[in-house]
């Protein structure tokens, strides 16, 4: 059964990419919705299978690790597979209604969408360093293609900038991979970890980790390497922005986190861990500050992503040479932050898209007074904002709580300040939107209500982000599952 699920998981997105390429947008929509159902079922099935029986290695082509490519199917990976299924299907349904089917180039939306999805799955499950590189490129190029779709000058500019940053990041990562291969003779992460368990750390391997993490940080848009992100996420169509902010940046972060958790202790050092944490903190502050100053609605949301990504990098200092329980808390907190930000940010971008559809403008000022039309999407936006502000009972709050505990538990109280300040700053930019909508001095009395199906999707996502905090225990429990180790070399 599990074998079928795995094959389905790998096959479906790629197959649907092919199918949708052969149709036009309207047909592609129908085909895609069918595929979404399949993919969600498969992801859910895999999640259930793993939460029942524990994780396992899956050798592709029947070859085992050092020679072949093994996928690492554990609780965390399937959680993210499921998250991807949820967010991507939401974006897929939204895009089906949101995107104008009459523009001929939009037919290419669906194949790119499906390739992106397959790349994400490849990254969540990847256990092979080079395979992860290919997965990253799959994601980057399809994301760039999606941003550039339609080919307006500003979009091209943003996508070029994005492409160059992504390529540079990939190269840095690949260089690190090359060093790892030269040093250990294997590309399997598990193989490297296995060898390091009972051997002294060989000289010269710190740079490999540094290069990989730096490259991935660039792809994740960690301050000060974040400047490609806001234009790309801000200018893309809203479902695309949602996908990019919710999932794509997480993919590269996920690899960096995996590498750090597996190799950080032997290959890293305290100064590097603190430095990454410091950059993350700077991202929180600077991203929020810029979000506060944007005049375009989607730019606010995009800069908010820069800030929220900053929190993720607190993983590095909070798991380096700390007690097992603190490290556990930090990992759980970061996992929750990834999930809740994915849900909340997708909701926010989709809601922003709806609001833009309603007011016909991307400017924050255009929202003046719209609150009296009780825009459903504004409410979704606000609920998603609750999670970004990490107020209870949202998933963002649960994440922040765990991170606070980890910071206090490890005596690194300075991150506490970052966490608390970040929450207040995000409140500032979320409420700025609200403030505009409550202002009663506008003459606008026309307000276009988008179709209910468009409005329901962000609401569902936002409610999930809120509800995540209530069920975070269950969500996290799957991470602590036993992992079948016999596949490791």
């Amino acid at each position: 059964m599990t074998l079928w699920l795995m094959a389905g998981l790998l096959f479906t997105p790629l197959a649907w990419a092919v199918l949708t390429l052969l149709t036009d947008f309207a047909w592609g929509r129908v085909v895609t919705w069918g595929g979404i159902v399949v993919q969600v079922l498969v992801s859910l099935g895999l999640w259930l299978a793993v939460s029942r029986d524990g994780g396992f290695y899956y050798g592709l082509g029947g070859w085992e690790a050092p020679l072949g490519i093994e996928l690492r199917v554990d609780g965390l990976a399937v959680t993210f597979v499921l998250l991807t299924a949820v967010v991507a299907s939401a974006c897929g349904f939204h895009a089906g209604v949101y995107i104008d089917p009459d523009k001929p180039w939009h037919r290419y939306f669906w194949p790119l969408f499906w390739f992106l999805w397959s790349g994400l799955n490849a990254v969540w499950l990847g256990g092979d360093l080079f395979n992860l590189y290919v997965g990253l490129e799959l994601i980057s190029l399809s994301a760039v293609g999606l941003v550039a779709l339609g080919g307006k000058a500003a979009a091209l500019r943003a996508s070029l900038r994005y492409l160059l940053a992504a390529l540079l990041g990939s190269l840095a990562y690949l260089l690190g991979v090359a060093l790892i291969y030269g040093q250990f003779g294997t590309l399997s992460i598990a193989g490297v970890v296995f060898w390091l368990e009972d051997h002294p750390v060989p000289a010269g391997s710190g740079l490999a980790l540094a290069l990989m993490v730096t490259g991935l940080a660039l792809k994740t848009a960690l301050f000060p390497l974040h400047r490609w992100l806001p234009p790309a996420h801000g200018i893309a169509q809203s479902p695309v922005s949602a996908l990019l902010s919710a999932l794509v940046v997480k993919a590269s972060f996920y690899i960096a986190a995996r590498l750090w958790l597996e190799l950080g202790e032997p290959l890293g050092n305290l100064a590097a861990a603190q430095l990454v944490g410091l950059l993350g903190s700077a991202a929180v502050v600077w991203g929020s500050w810029l979000a506060l100053r944007q005049s375009a609605l989607k730019q606010v949301v995009a800069y908010s992503s820069v800030a929220q990504i900053g929190y993720l990098f607190l993983l590095f200092p909070l798991t380096y040479s700390v007690s097992e329980s603190v490290s556990q808390q930090a990992q759980q907190g970061i996992t929750l932050q990834v999930i809740s930000h994915a849900l909340a940010k997708a909701a926010m971008f989709l809601a922003a898209g709806n609001l833009i559809l309603s007011t016909g403008s991307n400017r924050v000022d255009a929202l003046t007074g719209v609150s009296r039309f009780l825009p459903f999407s504004l409410f979704s936006f606000g609920l998603a904002g609750v999670s970004l502000m990490s107020l209870p009972p949202s998933g963002g709050f649960a994440a922040k709580w765990l991170l606070l505990q980890a910071s206090l538990g490890s005596g690194q109280w300075w991150w506490v300040l970052v966490l608390l300040t970040g929450g207040l700053l995000s409140a500032a930019y979320v409420f700025r939107i609200y403030r505009a909508s409550f202002l009663e001095n506008s003459e606008t009395d026309e307000f276009y209500h988008p179709s209910r199906s468009l409005e329901v999707i962000p609401m569902v996502l936002a409610l999930m982000a809120i509800g995540l905090g209530m069920v975070s225990e269950e969500v996290l429990s799957v991470m602590a599952l036993p992992f079948e180790e016999e596949g490791s070399p």
Binding site: S371, R372, L374, P392, A398, L404, Q405, Y434, F438
Partner: protein, 498 residues
């Protein structure tokens, strides 16, 4: 799980569901919305009455589950929570009635009543929270749901007030979160427990505990409008009168005060707090706030702003009572939670009536209003005398019990504070009363009253009179069982001998 476990949840859900239904109703669905509002308020009142009876008999209402690893979500009804829950259930009903009349024909009513219900749900959650974590959850929810009410009018001034409100409360929330997280790190997940947890705490953590206490009080003190964290309250008076009435006389400020009570009694334990030496500074701070705000109230010309400063001063009575070590004083503080709510909401209702019926906002416009609106002015007078502490009204009970408590605790200076504050109360309320009844009207009223017709809309007329009557009743009948004072004594009994 038994039905008893679910009753607190139902009490919470009534207003939550009401909020959702109201959001989905069309703006024009006036009747349906009013029905939903009042229905939910009545159901909730019923549930609370059931719980009060149950708690009195010692029934255990509660539900808990793990939310975040290591942290539980706990809802639970004990004597203290019933006091707050009862207060908000009763006043929600009255305020809803009042608000329906007040906002008649004004725009954005769906939005208003939706958030209004959310806000009451939060208050209910605060009352029923069984640990600090759950308390914080609803405390922040309260902040969020009151913001739209504060900025309801959508004017620049309202939005500015809203911003101030958010800056204060969210920062307070952040400090509170820090304190709770720290406490969690030091001592684990602590349920609210009568008698507290730290009676024999390890001396090594004393320093941390003191620091955490300061942070907790700072975080909660924002909503309780303790000096110097009170700045948002007078500004927030731009909100419509029902909002000022329920939220700023009852829900928000009381949430802060209630939180401090919870921390002192059910987390630290009153003996441990006293042993840590944190109560006396708190008492000084409360006493200072009482006097400072009273002095500030003197110079306000806007009626609602004067009431706001009066609120700041009065809420600190609760904190003062709690921070005096001794059961009698504690009962005085706790009973004021209820008494002050009744009196202050009366005053705010009246202020709203003056504004809505006659367009009066400033005190110097109030000359002779007593003749035009005798019912409202009567209620106002009762409320004002209650505040001053004239026997046998609610405020007198409070001050009397507080004073005896202070003497019992050996803190005689509190008597001086009480006397001085009463004088100040008199100084800022009596001139208003004088204007109301004994001055000639300055000009003709926009709407002359004629015989056989109420002085204002019935929706607006009855709530303040009802609360005024209650103000009298809780004073006169203070010694009966189930009166606020008896209930407060019950709480104190359980707190001091758990």
């Amino acid at each position: 799980m038994t039905l008893n476990a679910w009753i607190p949840v139902f009490a919470l859900m009534t207003s939550l569901v009401a909020a959702l239904v109201i959001f989905l109703l069309p703006e024009k669905g006036y009747r349906l919305r009013t029905t939903v509002n009042l229905g939910a308020a009545l159901v909730k009142l019923g549930l609370v009455v059931v719980m009060v009876w149950g708690v009195f008999r010692g029934v255990d209402y509660g539900l808990s589950f793990t939310m975040v690893p290591g942290v539980t979500f706990v809802l639970k009804a004990d004597a203290l929570s019933m006091m707050f829950a009862g207060l908000s259930a009763v006043l929600w009903l009255l305020t809803t009635i009042y608000a329906v009349g007040y906002l008649e024909d004004s725009p954005n009513r769906s939005r208003f009543f939706g958030f209004f219900s959310l806000c009451v749900a939060s208050t209910m959650g605060i009352a029923l929270a069984g640990n600090l974590f759950t308390f914080f959850l609803f405390y922040e929810m309260l902040t969020l749901s009151t913001y739209p009410l504060v900025v309801h009018r959508g004017t620049e001034k309202a939005l500015r007030a809203g911003r101030t409100y958010l800056i204060y409360t969210l920062s307070g929330g952040a400090v509170l979160l820090l304190a709770i997280a720290w406490l969690h790190g030091v001592a684990g997940d602590l349920p609210f427990r009568e008698g507290g947890h730290f009676i024999d705490a390890d001396p090594e953590i004393h320093r941390s505990l003191i620091l955490i206490f300061i942070l907790l009080v700072a975080g909660l003190g924002v909503k309780a409008a303790l000096f110097p964290l009170h700045g948002w309250l007078p500004q927030a008076m731009v909100a419509p009168a029902p909002v000022s009435a329920l939220l700023h006389a009852v829900a928000v400020v009381k949430a802060g005060a209630f939180g401090i009570v919870r921390v002192v009694y059910d987390i630290y334990g009153v003996e441990a707090s006293s042993a840590l030496g944190v109560l006396e500074p708190l008492a000084w701070l409360a006493a200072f706030t009482i006097l400072y705000a009273s002095v500030r109230a003197l110079s306000q010309v806007d009626l609602k702003r004067r009431l706001a400063f009066s609120t700041i001063s009065q809420v600190s009575y609760i904190i003062l009572g709690v921070s005096l070590f001794g059961p009698v004083a504690a009962a005085g503080g706790l009973v004021h939670l209820l008494h002050q709510g009744l009196m202050k909401i009366t005053l705010f209702f009246c202020a709203g009536n003056y504004a809505e019926t006659l367009g009066i906002h400033r005190i110097d416009e109030m000359d002779g209003v007593g003749r035009r609106m005798p019912g409202t002015s009567l209620a106002f007078t009762i409320g004002a005398f209650g505040m001053i502490g004239a026997p046998p009204l609610a405020g007198f009970i409070t001050k009397w019990v507080l004073g005896s408590g202070a003497l019992a605790a050996g803190m005689d200076w509190v008597i001086a504070v009480l006397v001085l504050s009463s004088l100040l109360n008199a100084a800022y309320f009596l001139p208003i009363l004088h204007r109301l009844w004994f001055r000639e009207p300055q000009a003709s009223w926009p709407e002359e009253r004629f015989w056989g017709r109420l002085e204002t809309s019935a929706w607006l007329f009855w709530p303040p009179l009802l609360t005024a009557v209650m103000t009298v009743m809780v004073g006169v009948l203070a010694s009966l069982p189930f009166s606020p004072l008896s209930w407060a004594e019950l709480i104190v009994l359980r707190e001091y001998s758990p």
